[in-house]
Symmetry: C2
C-alpha cells in the first residue's frame, strides 16, 4: 500500500518537493498557513487541509518544510498541531533549517508521545529541489530512518546519515550555510581587490572555479558575485541572517568562538539595513563593494 | 636550438620545477643563495652558478622562484643581479608570489633595459610542482609570453592569461591564497562547532566535499583540518602570513577594505606566536580549537 504523506509548508522549497512526491506516486495531504499556496498541489492531486492536524494521521508520515523555529513549533505543538495526531507510531520528517536546540526538544517530545522525529534538512536551491537534486543530511531513530528512506530518495540525489541525534543533522545544515556565506564573503573581497587593481572579476572567477575551487558552491555563487548579478532570488538575506544567527546561537551554547560567523552576521545585518532583506543572499558580497566605495 | 634557461631559487617549489625543465630537455644553469641546494640539479645535468648573474645570458631566459619581495629585488637589482646581464631581448619569468607593487616596478625596470618581465606565479603544493600539475597565472608583454609558453607548459597543467600588466597576475595569485586561507578558517570554525555539538568532523568533511565543496581546495585542506593532522608541511604559516599581508598591503593601496583578510592576518600571527611558524598553513585552523579550549 502506498503511504499517504502529510506535507506542511509550501514555500519556494516545499512546493517543488511536494510536487516530486506526488509524481513519485504518493498520496498527499497538504497544509500551508497561506491557503492560496496549496492550489498548485491540489490541482496536481493533493488534498487540502485547513489545519495542520488535518494532514496528519495516526501512525502516518508528515513532512514539514518551514521558514524557522517559530513556524515549526506552531504547527507541531499547537492545539491543532502535528504531535497529538501523529501517535502512535507516526514519523515527523523535519526538513526545515531550524536550531539544533529545537531539534533536541522536538525529538524528545515526539519520543514521549510514542512517535519519531527525523531531522532531514536539505542543501540546494529551489531549482535543485524541482530537479530532485537536493542533498539531505539525516539523523534520527534507525527504524524511522529506514521507513522514510524511499521518500527522501524521491527528493534528493544523496543522503548523508549523522546518527540518532536529530540535532546533529541541523548542526551540519547550519554549518553548510555558514561555509557558503563564508565563501561568498571571501570571493566578494577577492574579486573587489582585483577590480580595484584593474583585473576583471570574471577572469578571476574563471581561474578559481576551473582549478582549486571547481565545485558547485563557488561556481554558482561566484558567478553572481563576479558579475554582480544577483537575480533570481533563491534564498533571501533575511533567511541567511536567521541561519547565521542559528550558527552563532549554537556556538555560544557549546562555547566555541566563530569570528567569521560573527562577521557574516554583521555583513548580512548591514545588507538588510540597506534595504536588501528580500534580495538573494549572494548579495551580501555587495557589502564589500559598498565598503570600497564602488558599485 | 634548445633554449638554455637560468633558474634561481631552488626551494621546495623551485627544485621540482627545475627538475621538470631538465627532463623536458632544456639546458640549465642554476643558482641558489645556499649553494648546497644546487647539488640535486647539478647531479641531474645543470651547471651551477655562484652569483645570480652567472646563470643569465644576454637575450636569454631566466626564471626566479623565490620566497619574497626582498629576495627577488636582491637577485634582480644587485650588482651581480639579473637585470644588467639579461638585456637586450631577454626575458625574466618571475614565478614567485610577490607584491603587485614590486611587479609593477620590475616590469618598468626591465622594459627600460630593453628586456621583458613576465609574471607567472603558480598555484599548487610541492607535490603538484613535481607532478607538473601547477596552475599558472601569467601576465606580461604578448611577444614575451609567446616565447616562454613552451616552458610554462612544461611546468603546469593549465595557464590563465591576465593581460599585459605583470602585476595583475600577482593580484590574482595573492587573492587565491587569500581564498584558500579563508576556506581553511571557515572549515576550522564549522568542524569545531560540529565537534563541540558531538558531530564527527570527518563526517562533516565527507558531506561537504562530496557535494557543494567537491573541489581540490576543500578536499585537500579540509582533510587535514577535519583530521587535525597537518603533516607533511607544504607551505608554512610564516609564508602564508607574508601572502596575507601582501593582500592587505594591496587592499590598502587601492582602498578596498578586506575584513576577512585582516582576521586571517591575526589568526596566522597568533599561530606564529604559539610557535607554529614553520608548520603547515592549514594549521591556522588550530587557532579555532585553541579559542574553543580543545585540542
Amino acid at each position: 500500500m502506498t503511504e499517504t504523506i502529510g506535507f506542511i509548508g509550501l514555500g519556494n522549497m516545499g512546493s517543488p518537493m511536494a510536487i516530486n512526491l506526488l509524481k513519485a506516486g504518493y498520496n498527499m495531504r497538504v497544509y500551508n498557513r497561506d491557503l492560496s499556496k496549496t492550489q498548485t498541489l491540489v490541482d496536481a492531486g493533493a488534498k487540502r487541509g485547513v489545519r495542520p492536524s488535518d494532514v496528519v494521521e495516526h501512525g502516518g508520515i508528515v513532512i514539514t518544510m518551514l521558514a524557522n523555529d517559530e513556524a515549526l513549533e506552531a504547527v507541531t505543538l499547537g492545539i491543532d498541531g502535528i504531535l497529538t495526531h501523529l501517535s502512535p507510531g507516526g514519523i515527523h520528517i523535519s526538513m526545515s533549517t531550524v536550531s539544533p536546540d529545537l531539534a533536541r526538544k522536538m525529538q524528545k517530545l515526539h519520543e514521549q508521545q510514542g512517535c519519531h522525529y527525523v531531522a532531514a534538512p536539505v542543501f540546494g536551491r529551489p531549482e535543485a529541489a524541482a530537479a530532485r537534486q537536493l542533498w539531505i543530511a539525516e539523523a534520527g531513530h534507525p527504524e524511522a530512518k529506514k521507513r522514510v528512506r524511499p521518500i527522501l530518495d524521491a527528493l534528493g540525489q544523496g543522503i548523508f546519515d549523522f546518527g540518532e541525534e536529530a540535532a546533529n543533522a541541523n548542526v551540519v545544515k547550519i554549518s553548510g550555510n555558514f561555509l557558503l556565506a563564508s565563501a561568498m564573503e571571501a570571493m566578494g573581497e577577492a574579486f573587489t581587490l582585483g577590480e580595484k587593481n584593474g583585473v576583471e572579476r570574471t577572469k578571476m572567477y574563471e581561474l578559481f572555479t576551473q582549478t582549486l575551487f571547481a565545485c558547485p558552491a563557488y561556481k554558482s555563487y561566484g558567478k553572481r558575485i563576479a558579475e554582480k548579478n544577483f537575480e533570481p532570488v533563491g534564498f533571501t538575506m533575511q533567511l541567511a541572517l536567521k541561519d547565521i544567527n542559528l550558527v552563532l546561537d549554537s556556538a555560544k551554547e557549546v562555547v566555541s568562538p566563530m569570528p567569521l560567523a560573527s562577521h557574516l552576521s554583521n555583513r548580512l545585518l548591514s545588507g538588510i539595513a540597506r534595504g536588501r532583506s528580500d534580495r538573494d543572499w549572494s548579495e551580501l558580497s555587495r557589502g564589500v563593494l559598498d565598503d570600497a566605495g564602488i558599485e
